[in-house]
């Protein structure tokens, strides 16, 4: 028998050894495949792109025996491409996924019936979460009035300032109620000098090459890139006027603001040297500051609400955001919803999130926790949690759109030209708005063609 087998193997054209290797490969491949089928994939998967979030979720789920089959995976920034491919191919989809606000738009494009995320509106309404959370935070993840993500954060913005420097100017933070008040103080603070030297002084850094600080100030004033119906409003008179006032801050005589430096750490260093009077920061940036700027700023800074655009106006804005979404084709949406509530609406986890990341959660009930009243030594013992939560309900709604990422990119593309005076604010914003409208019109035409079932 063995003899016959060896003879047979000898007849194999490439020879006996390649045949043996082939058989070994087949055998091991089969074993691996069978083991994978037997063990089976975890019944529910959660994807995130932030390691702190993954740790938080794992700790939360570890407390729950019923959630032992839930696997949390931190895929870093590569998660977004993997998710895009998973949605495209409808394979290996997670049951729950954290999506950053600037990229969620790609999943909200097209007719509602084709959106690959579960519509959470009815669940949120039925269970009362819309009332219990900051309602403005759902706007980013909504299209046509339907909500496709649970907000992770509120991200209220404040002004971080050097109290000693402000005192030298003869100002108290409570006197800086409006941007005009702030600009007057900043102009007194101003000293000329080239970047790279230690002689210059500016009120605060504003980006001259990207639109994000302008948008934050526009949101504070009640404007937006899109309205609730998803139409472009970036060329509205309010948006144009805000950009003109933004430029006036940067270019006044003397200027009330200066260009943002190359990185946050350079901004922190300039604040520590007294070259900036203050800087804009969302809640999460306070954690970054405490981590990366400890040696520079610990015990030397405090926070205050943003000055309003008009007396009695809104004292905060927002930057950034993340939502937890349920991919529609992943299956088990009800179970995913139950896990989502444990991850995003569990008071203990939300408190821990603030403690480790300075992130104010959207669930109002969590704000009564003593952690928000703890003095922060980094901020001269100030109760920053209380300052942030008092501003949280004022955070403006930022309307989501499938075209948000493109809007940001198009605005960034013209922003340096605007701040350099090569193009007027009105022309720049009109250009961005027109391009967005053209892309939207093209997509609408394609959807109409697809529905009609014909080629052009």
């Amino acid at each position: 028998m063995l003899r016959r087998l060896l003879d047979w193997a000898d007849e194999f054209p490439p020879g006996r050894v390649p045949l043996l290797l082939l058989l070994v490969a087949l055998a091991t491949g089969t074993v691996i495949a069978v083991r994978q089928v037997r063990s089976g994939p975890p019944r529910l998967t959660v994807w995130t792109f932030v390691h702190l979030a993954a740790e938080e979720f794992q700790q939360r789920l570890a407390r729950e025996p019923a959630a032992r089959d839930v696997e949390v995976r931190n895929l870093g920034s590569a998660m977004f491409d993997r998710l895009a491919l998973a949605v495209m191919t409808r394979t290996e989809l997670p049951n729950l996924v954290e999506i950053e606000q600037s990229v969620i738009g790609r999943y909200l494009r097209g007719p509602p019936e084709h959106i690959p995320l579960v519509d959470l509106t009815d669940r949120l309404e039925r269970e009362g979460w819309l009332e219990r959370c900051v309602p403005a935070r759902f706007a980013r993840y909504a299209v046509a009035g339907r909500i496709f993500g649970i907000p992770h954060d509120v991200h209220p913005m404040v002004l971080v300032y050097r109290p000693d420097v402000l005192a030298e100017l003869g100002c108290r933070p409570e006197e800086l109620e409006t941007w005009d008040d702030w600009c007057a103080a900043a102009r007194r603070f101003y000293r000329p000098g080239a970047l790279g030297t230690r002689s210059w002084r500016r009120g605060m850094p504003l980006s001259t090459v990207e639109g994000y600080t302008y948008l934050a100030l526009l949101w504070q004033r009640g404007g937006d890139m899109f309205d609730a119906a998803g139409e472009v409003t970036l060329d509205s008179p309010l948006a144009v006027d805000t950009l003109e006032r933004y430029l006036a801050m940067l270019g006044g005589d003397p200027p009330a603001a200066g260009p943002a430096l190359s990185s946050l750490i350079e901004d922190f260093a300039a604040l520590s040297r007294g070259q900036f009077l203050g800087l804009l920061a969302a809640d999460w940036m306070l954690a970054v500051m405490q981590r990366d700027g400890r040696a520079l700023l610990e015990g030397r800074v405090r926070i205050m609400p943003l000055p309003a655009w008009e007396r009695g106006g809104r004292r905060t804005s927002t930057i950034g955001g993340t939502a937890l979404c349920i991919p529609r084709d992943a299956g088990s949406p009800d179970r995913a919803w139950e896990i989502a509530k444990r991850l995003y609406f569990d008071r203990r986890s939300l408190v821990e999130r603030f403690r480790t990341q300075s992130i104010v959660p959207p669930l109002r009930a969590s704000w009564t926790d003593p952690v928000f009243d703890e003095p922060a030594p980094f901020f001269q013992g100030q109760r920053i949690g209380r300052v942030l939560t008092q501003l949280a309900d004022q955070v403006p709604p930022v309307h989501g759109s499938p075209y948000l990422a493109e809007g940001y990119k198009l605005l960034d593309a013209v922003f340096a030209d605007v701040t350099a005076g090569r193009v007027t604010p009105r022309a720049a914003l009109a250009g961005v708005a027109d391009e967005l409208r053209a892309r939207m019109a093209r997509d609408r035409a394609a959807v109409a063609r697809a529905r009609a079932g014909r080629a052009p």
Binding site: D7, W8, E11, F12, P13, P14, F80, D81, A84, V87, M88, V103, R106, Y107, L108, R109, G110, P111, E113, H114, I115, P116, A194, L195, G196, T197, T208, V209, E210, P259, A260, L261, S262, S263, E266, A269, A270, P402, Y403, A405, E406, K409, D412, A413, V414, F415, A416, D417, R439, R442, D443, A446, V447, R449, A450, A455, P456
Partner: protein, 293 residues
């Protein structure tokens, strides 16, 4: 059973080729064919997909951002070739010196940047290129040169990428030149020396012709590599910023395909870039062949 094996020798080559062909068809032919299919379609989100014929290509030809991105990529390619290759050759000549101490160490150190990931480079070079506290501006300041905003000045940022590219890839190119230099027979140098040739003449008459095939290969490879430049502007200059000042063609392709979800347009862009590269490669091939002749 024996007959089955006996019938096979004529087709033995196919047995050997079969695994490769299967993988090649699955991972190369099929994606290429599928990208042609995509280039002829417009998608709106994951659920809507319509045939648009050559519309994506027609739009691309009118798309100023695409051509500007292509221009920036060509600038980077030219800067890389002109910056990296002479430097790489110089370093190769240096570390090829028998009298040089710790030659192995020098070679390893010069090659090391290739092994560093783009994300680490982004973090490290932010400290180098910072406008206020960056190492480079501090050094320039001591020489009386005013600070440059290496990462945020639209007129400067592309040169910052070229400089970083030179740092990253010069060592890699050096290794190729080193291999070429070591392949030149020593007798040629000895004969040239006997004929009275000086160092410069030996370099021009022996070294350069000896390494020319490698230089030609590196020019083509650097050009193709430069047109694939993505991770450096993505991480070092915040996704090709400021504005679009460092947006290369691959960054723009990614932006349209993955941020905007216009996969068909991105596929069309990929094919057009391939065409441009093909033309460049053919021109380079002709020039280098003429030079070799």
């Amino acid at each position: 059973m024996r007959r089955a094996w006996r019938g096979a020798p004529a087709s033995a080559a196919w047995w050997f080729l079969a695994p490769f062909l299967a993988l090649f068809a699955t991972f190369t032919v099929y994606p290429l064919a599928y990208s042609v299919y995509l280039a002829l379609r417009q998608s709106v989100g994951p659920g809507v997909d319509v045939y648009v014929g050559g519309d994506n290509f027609a739009r691309l030809l009118r798309d100023e951002v695409f051509w500007e991105s292509l221009g920036r990529t060509a600038y980077f390619a030219a800067g890389s070739i002109l910056g990296q290759l002479p430097l790489a050759l110089g370093l190769a000549l240096l570390v090829n010196q028998r009298r040089l101490r710790l030659r192995g160490l020098w070679r390893t150190m010069l090659f090391l940047p290739v092994l560093v990931g783009a994300a680490f480079i982004a973090v490290g070079f932010r400290l180098v290129f910072g406008v206020q506290d960056g190492v480079l501006n501090q050094l320039l300041g001591r020489l009386g040169v005013p600070a440059l905003d290496w990462l945020r000045d639209p007129d400067v940022v592309l040169n910052t990428l070229v400089l970083t590219g030179v740092w990253m890839f010069t060592g890699f190119n050096m290794v190729y030149f080193l291999a070429g230099l070591q392949g030149i027979p020593q007798e040629l140098y000895e004969a040239a020396a006997i004929d009275g040739a000086g160092a410069w003449q030996r370099f021009c008459a022996v070294t350069l012709p000896g390494i020319w095939p490698i230089a030609a290969f590196l020019i083509t490879a650097s050009t193709i590599g430069s047109f694939g430049l993505f991770d450096l502007p993505w991480v070092l200059t915040d996704r090709g910023g400021p504005g679009r000042a460092s947006t290369t063609v691959m960054v723009y392709l990614y932006e349209r395909g993955f941020l905007a979800g216009d996969i068909g347009y991105a596929a069309a862009m990929g094919w057009l870039v391939t065409l441009v590269l093909l033309v460049i490669a053919l021109v380079q091939l002709r020039v280098t062949r003429a030079r070799a002749d």
